[in-house]
């Protein structure tokens, strides 16, 4: 029986701007178990990155709770206890901007060690840095280089090393390989999966790439305009996608083999674009693009309901309200 590491309970994060209130995250609930990889999928404007930033403490929630190992942690990072900051780490998406171009790799990796005074077993920070670099399969001489001197994949490995430097138990990965080529991506994902097994980490893995998600996550949730549309076990998700948006996403993927073609829903072709999060349509936020739209969809926002064990959908097609 696995423990729950993180529970998100009706989380909302709204930003007040001149154009109106941006409801980036608008009522999300899910939980992540110990040593699990939980995947969060969504396109731009879905709010997935905002979820990540709120959990890690860059933003304060507008409403709702974030419960980590039993404690409510809905505060900004600065107000959180140091122990917590060591335990939850994040790997950012863009390796170009997540490392300070004017600091050497060594300085970048030493920072978390120095802040948390981590010299394990009397090892000096320098040795720990070497250890970290070795762990991500980079030569120790890299510690004297600047981020601009190394490739994007390698920078991301440094980002991962930085996240693991404090020995966390929960790591948020915000599109860690979206900016990278497929062969570098494979290497990094392989490394991440190995670390997950070795250090018994729980991951909140965020990406827009469903093919990647299939091979990484054990449970997947899809977000659209700040709300979760569907959540299920990975295999169930792909074999039996229920929500029209899920089907639309799947049908947009360009696969490279015929076996995969069989999994793609043919009837749902993508159309329309995601509306601005300032002007969320009334009723179900997806109804303007939905090929299976019914009258009720433009009036009432559906609620998440469980269709089968572990498989939840938020759609009028399945909640018995169609009429």
């Amino acid at each position: 029986m696995m423990d729950t590491v993180l529970t998100i309970d009706r989380l909302k994060k709204h930003f007040v701007t001149r154009q109106g209130t941006v409801k980036a995250v608008d009522g999300i609930s899910f939980s992540v178990q110990e040593s699990e990889v939980f995947g969060l999928v969504g396109e731009s404007g879905s709010g997935k990155s905002t979820v990540a930033y709120t959990v890690v403490g860059m933003y304060r929630p507008t409403e709702g709770k974030i419960i980590y190992r039993g404690k409510n942690i809905g505060q900004e990072s600065r107000k959180r206890p140091k122990e917590l900051r060591k335990d939850i780490q994040i790997v950012f998406q863009d390796p170009g901007t997540s490392l300070n171009p004017r600091r050497t790799i060594r300085q970048i990796l030493e920072l978390p060690l120095k802040v948390h005074s981590l010299s394990k077993d009397d090892k000096k920070p320098l040795e720990r840095v070497e250890e970290l670099l070795e762990m991500v399969q980079l030569p120790p001489s890299y510690m004297y280089k600047y981020p601009t001197m190394i490739g994007g994949g390698e920078r991301q490995m440094v980002g991962i090393a930085r996240a693991l430097a404090t020995d966390p138990s929960f790591v948020i990965l915000d599109e860690p390989t979206s900016a990278l080529d497929v062969s570098v991506q494979a290497k990094i994902i392989d490394m991440l999966i190995q670390f997950q097994k070795k250090f018994k980490l729980a991951y909140l893995f965020i990406t827009h790439d469903l093919s990647l998600m299939r091979n990484v996550a054990s449970r997947i949730a899809i977000m659209y305009l700040g709300k979760i549309c569907e959540v299920a076990l990975a295999s169930e998700f792909f074999e039996n996608p229920l929500h029209p948006y899920t089907q639309m996403l799947l049908s947009s993927i360009h696969v490279i083999s015929d076996e995969e073609e069989a999994l793609i829903p043919k009837k749902v072709v993508s159309r329309g674009e995601i509306p601005s999060p300032v002007n969320v349509p009334p009723g179900c936020s997806f109804h303007l693009r939905c090929p299976k739209k019914m009258d009720i969809c433009s009036e009432k926002d559906p609620v998440m309901g469980e269709v089968s064990k572990g498989h939840g959908v938020r759609c009028h097609l399945y909640d018995g309200e169609a009429g």
Partner: protein, 331 residues
């Protein structure tokens, strides 16, 4: 014997830098026939953008130098053309769609103004167009890319439109004049998956209708598989495999192509491969012979000495690898 629309022969492009020269393109051979959709697959840093810029001759000439090679467009060498002929080619024969639509549109001008500029620049010589003609043509071309309410879009600034719409507008600027060759550099990469799919389908439809040839550059194998007739795989400055798309995906021959396909995550699951070991070579001191040999598990002594030429494995399937020297697969 029909002439190819575009033919690159043994192109070598070097860049001059602090420590010497970056020998980026190392003998590129590339052919596009009229009406054909050709894909160019390669990872970041393999030189595909350099090659495209060389075709359009928009490479910054220092620090870039073209050491050797020719680029023939309908039989005439682009690299030797004068400004006048080059202008003609850019106006009416070859257009390019850039990767980032936001950067390709000028933020301080309305869409209508920018389209008007493109239309009047690319009109046929000697043919004059009135303001009304230009506007009608602009609306026509916006409709062709399925943009709703074109009249309103003409009055908008790029910032008021979404990424997908901006990309469609970029495509429309490329379609304005009668084009024979469209170079699409990673279209839709910076956009959402669903929008990217729409854009790729749009490009496919438009070129089918007009009979334009397309070079679709991408690092995404899936996009190339669905949208092209023939594919080139590029690594570190030269082509390693060239085949009909179906043939490549059914049976990739070059170890690099195989590595790429194995590394691509699949919807059917099965885990993620280990990728291709090693990293792209430094162009300042690239490996001798076949540039892939340091990363190749089948490397032989000859791979270090000589650069492999294309060997024909099947009809319309060529591989630049000494494993196929005798036209027989070793596996």
């Amino acid at each position: 014997m029909p002439t190819p629309l575009l033919e690159i022969k043994d192109l070598h492009v070097w860049f001059s830098v602090f420590k010497g020269f970056l020998k980026v393109l190392d003998g590129v051979d590339f052919v596009v026939w009229p009406g054909e959709k050709v894909g160019l697959v390669g990872e970041m840093g393999c030189g595909k953008t350099t090659m495209m810029k060389a075709i359009m001759r928009i490479l910054l000439m220092p620090p870039a130098t073209i050491r050797k090679g020719e680029i023939f467009f309908k039989g005439r060498d682009i690299l030797k053309m004068g400004q006048g002929q080059l202008q003609e080619i850019r106006r009416r024969k070859i257009s390019m769609i850039f990767q980032d639509p936001t950067a390709a549109l000028n933020p301080v001008f309305k869409i209508g103004t920018q389209l008007r500029d493109v239309i009047s620049c690319t009109r046929e010589r000697g043919k004059s167009m009135t303001k009304g003609d230009i506007r009608r043509r602009a609306i026509q071309v916006l409709k062709e890319v399925s943009l709703p309410d074109p009249e309103r879009i003409l009055e908008n600034y790029p910032i008021q439109l979404s990424g997908g719409m901006r990309q469609r507008i970029c495509i429309s600027t490329a379609l304005v004049s009668t084009n024979e060759l469209l170079i699409a550099d990673e279209p839709g990469t910076s956009l959402d998956v669903t929008i990217k799919d729409q854009i790729l389908r749009l490009i496919g439809e438009v070129v089918e209708k007009r009979g334009t040839s397309v070079i679709l550059i991408s690092h995404s194998l899936g996009a190339v598989r669905n949208m092209t007739d023939r594919v080139y795989v590029m690594y570190a400055g030269s082509m390693v495999e060239a085949a009909k798309t179906k043939s490549l995906f059914a049976n990739p021959r070059h170890p690099y192509s195989q590595g790429l396909i194995a590394a691509t995550p699949k919807l059917t699951g099965g885990g993620v491969g280990k990728g291709v070991p090693g990293r792209i070579p430094e162009y300042i001191d690239p490996p001798t012979g076949c540039r892939f040999h340091p990363r190749c598990e089948h490397a032989m002594p000859i791979c270090r000495d000589k650069k492999p030429p294309f060997f024909e494995v099947n009809e319309n399937h060529q591989v630049a690898c000494f494993l196929f020297r005798d036209n027989q697969s070793h596996r």
